[in-house]
């Protein structure tokens, strides 16, 4: 929809153009920002004009630009030793949004919107990816994606900061993974999304999203027993409550998925 309060859109071409302030927001793909009225927003700084390469491979990471579209992420070719690569498509398919939205929506935008069912948050949390944050005066800091999303519509971004990139450790892509998801309707908004990851060093992590207001990670130095996993799940509070699923249902399916994943990766 037209954002009737917006008086100016600046397309950022260099880092110095990224100046946010009162009423001025960073714009990624725009598929969420333009989907509802934005009272108080008077200006937008379009980050897609910065021309960041969608993905860059370094020695030990896959660096995904915040402006990489969901479509481009699904087209990143797999390496032979990346069993976790299949999560890219599984998570994109977990979005409520159709493939047409993937053509415009960005990975960074999905994470920064901080919705419990944001499947890019699921993906990047499960892969222990790091959020690279740019602040004013050319400052830069890093925080795990699982901590970057702090709650429903709440992130760790401070005034003037933007999400620049997500660094996915290559080691995480080399992990074995298991994936479970459910929604109240077949192609609906995720009610629970659970990803298990068994790394080469034997460590085991279960990442829960959609069922909780923010990503929850259960970490084990080695594959847990059923009892150990159950005990860790007991500590989760609260379970998310909205029209897309009751908290007790989300807890029940999450517990089931976690145990299935434990057995699958054993």
């Amino acid at each position: 929809m037209d954002l009737i309060g917006v008086d100016e859109i600046r397309v950022a071409r260099t880092r110095d153009d990224i100046v946010l302030g009162e009423g001025v927001r960073a714009l990624g793909g725009g598929t969420w920002l333009f989907s509802e009225p934005q009272p108080g927003v008077t200006g937008l700084v379009d980050l897609t004009g910065l021309g960041w390469p969608a993905v860059v491979r370094t020695d030990d990471a896959l660096v995904v630009a915040a402006t990489c579209t969901i479509r481009d992420l699904t087209r990143v070719p797999a390496e032979p030793d990346w069993p976790a690569h299949r999560l890219f498509r599984l998570c994109a398919d977990s979005l409520l949004a159709s493939f047409k939205i993937w053509n415009v929506a960005t990975v960074g935008g999905n994470i920064a919107t901080a919705l419990p069912a944001g499947a890019m948050t699921s993906l990047m949390s499960a892969l222990d990816a790091t959020a690279v944050i740019w602040g004013p005066e050319h400052t830069e800091r890093r925080i795990p994606v699982a901590e970057f999303v702090r709650g429903v519509r709440s992130t760790d971004l401070r005034a003037g900061e933007i999400l620049r990139a997500i660094e996915v450790p290559s080691a995480a892509l080399r992990s074995r993974v298991a994936f479970r998801r459910i929604a109240l309707s077949n192609l609906g908004r995720s009610g629970s999304l659970v990803i298990g990851r068994a790394a080469g060093d034997g460590s085991f992590v279960v990442t829960i999203t959609a069922a909780t207001p923010r990503p929850i990670q259960l970490r084990f130095t080695a594959a847990p027993t059923a009892g150990e996993l159950e005990h860790a799940l007991d500590g989760i509070d609260p379970w998310y409550d909205d029209p897309h699923g009751a908290p007790d249902w989300r807890e029940a399916v999450t517990r089931l998925f976690a145990e299935e994943i434990r057995e699958e990766l054993a």
């Binding site: 929809m1 989907s35 159709s98 493939f99 047409k100």
Partner: protein
């Protein structure tokens, strides 16, 4: 800004915050529909550089140098795209408001999408629920016949307007350019579930450049009416005013601004100052219908002339009915099941924008073109509320978009 639409260069002004759909429609590309306006229904789907997008959430400032293809660019009634012809042959359309988006989206499908249509089309909603026929259309199933003259009865004939609909040529309510200057109306909505307007100050809104006028309850006719319509107007209770000083639900219209553009009209809403007396509200249906003290009576001041079923219990209407001798049937049954079943109120979400355009024609008649399934009844009620003389009403092919004509009284 310059970009290409259906192979032709378009140079146009783009305002900050505008989306592609608005820019296309402002330039006469009415084949691109405004549905949900939130990226969900897909009626506005177009191709940008061959990739399908929802144009209602595509920021227009990115258009420079891009190539846009709409459903009208895919084919014409004389030379339709094969998929457009298939939608006609399969009867894959009913009201047709979703069809443009369905065709554009499906035109990009490869084997993967064809194998999983529910997923590939989850960004396209049809509210006539014609998904089976749409699936048939995409898979090339022919559900229609072309019988010879006089032999059509009982046969599944093609929709007469089908080729116009599938190529985006059919005019819906807002799909035409008004001969006179077009003004836009925006509505200020109540933030309270139950309140009385103590005072309302519209001076600042009226002073905004581009604002033509502002209406409040002070301008409203005193005639009560129902927003529901049946052939006999007395089937519905007279429970509301065009603009009522008492607000009985959150979102009820408080004031209306008429301005040169939607943008100005909506901005002017923020300049209206309203002082509300907040009244007690009730949200529990059982409590609302009780006679308990302290439960607000939303229409308590209205009498029998309003035809509200039980104003003292917040019951606006009730219906009881049975067919045949239910008691005897139950008595004779081998097994019976007893229970109380209830359902929520359901509002059908029509895709077409709820909209009306009005103008005064050369004979001085007020002409209203509105999206409604009951144009004659809407005309009659508008004449009743505003004291107008009624004149003939014309309806287009569709139930959900029709012209309504009413004469101005002296």
């Amino acid at each position: 800004m310059k970009f290409e639409v259906n192979g032709e260069e378009l140079e146009t002004e783009v305002l900050p915050g505008q989306v592609l759909r608005t820019v296309l429609r402002q330039n006469g590309h009415y084949e691109v529909k405004k549905g949900c306006d939130a990226g969900d229904c897909g009626a506005c789907s177009v191709l940008v550089d061959a990739e399908p997008v929802h144009s209602c959430i595509y920021p227009a400032h990115r258009l420079s140098g891009k190539h846009v293809t709409t459903v009208a660019g895919l084919g014409t009634p004389e030379d339709p795209h094969p998929l457009q012809q298939r939608f006609v042959d399969a009867a894959g359309l009913q009201c047709g408001f979703c069809t443009a988006g369905m065709v554009v989206t499906a035109s990009t499908f490869g084997d993967e999408e064809l194998a999983d249509l529910p997923r590939a089309l989850k960004g396209n909603l049809c509210r006539c629920t014609g998904y089976r026929a749409i699936r048939d259309a995409i898979h090339g199933v022919d559900n229609t016949a072309t019988p010879a003259a006089g032999e059509a009865a009982g046969r599944s004939v093609k929709a007469p307007a089908g080729l116009r609909v599938v190529t985006g040529r059919e005019e819906y309510t807002l799909d035409f350019t008004t001969p006179t200057k077009l003004l836009h109306l925006a509505v200020l909505k109540s933030p309270h579930a139950h309140a009385r307007i103590r005072s309302i100050d519209t001076a600042a809104a009226e002073a905004l450049e581009g604002v033509e006028c502002v209406f409040t309850h002070r301008d409203s006719p005193a005639t009560l009416f129902s927003t529901g319509r049946h052939e006999n107007r007395e089937d519905d209770p007279d429970d509301t005013l065009v603009l009522d000083p008492v607000l009985r639900f959150r979102g009820q219209r408080v004031a209306a601004v008429v301005a040169d553009s939607v943008r100005i009209a909506e901005r002017a809403l923020a300049l209206i100052t309203v002082e509300y007396e907040i009244l007690p509200a009730v949200f529990d249906p059982a409590l609302a219908r009780s006679t308990q003290d302290g439960v607000p009576r939303l229409h308590g001041e209205k009498g029998a002339e309003s035809r509200i079923s039980e104003p003292g219990r917040n019951v606006v209407a009730q219906m009881h009915g049975e067919m045949g001798d239910v008691e005897a049937a139950l008595a004779a049954s081998d097994a019976t099941v007893e229970g109380v079943w209830q359902t929520q109120r359901i509002s059908h979400a029509a895709l077409e924008t709820h909209a009306t355009r009005g103008w005064i024609d050369a004979d001085g008649r007020l002409v209203l073109r509105t999206s409604t399934q009951v144009p004659f009844l809407v005309r009659d009620e508008i004449c009743h509320i505003f004291g107008l003389l009624r004149t003939p009403c014309a309806s287009s092919r569709r139930g959900s978009a029709a012209d309504s004509v009413a004469n101005r009284s002296s």
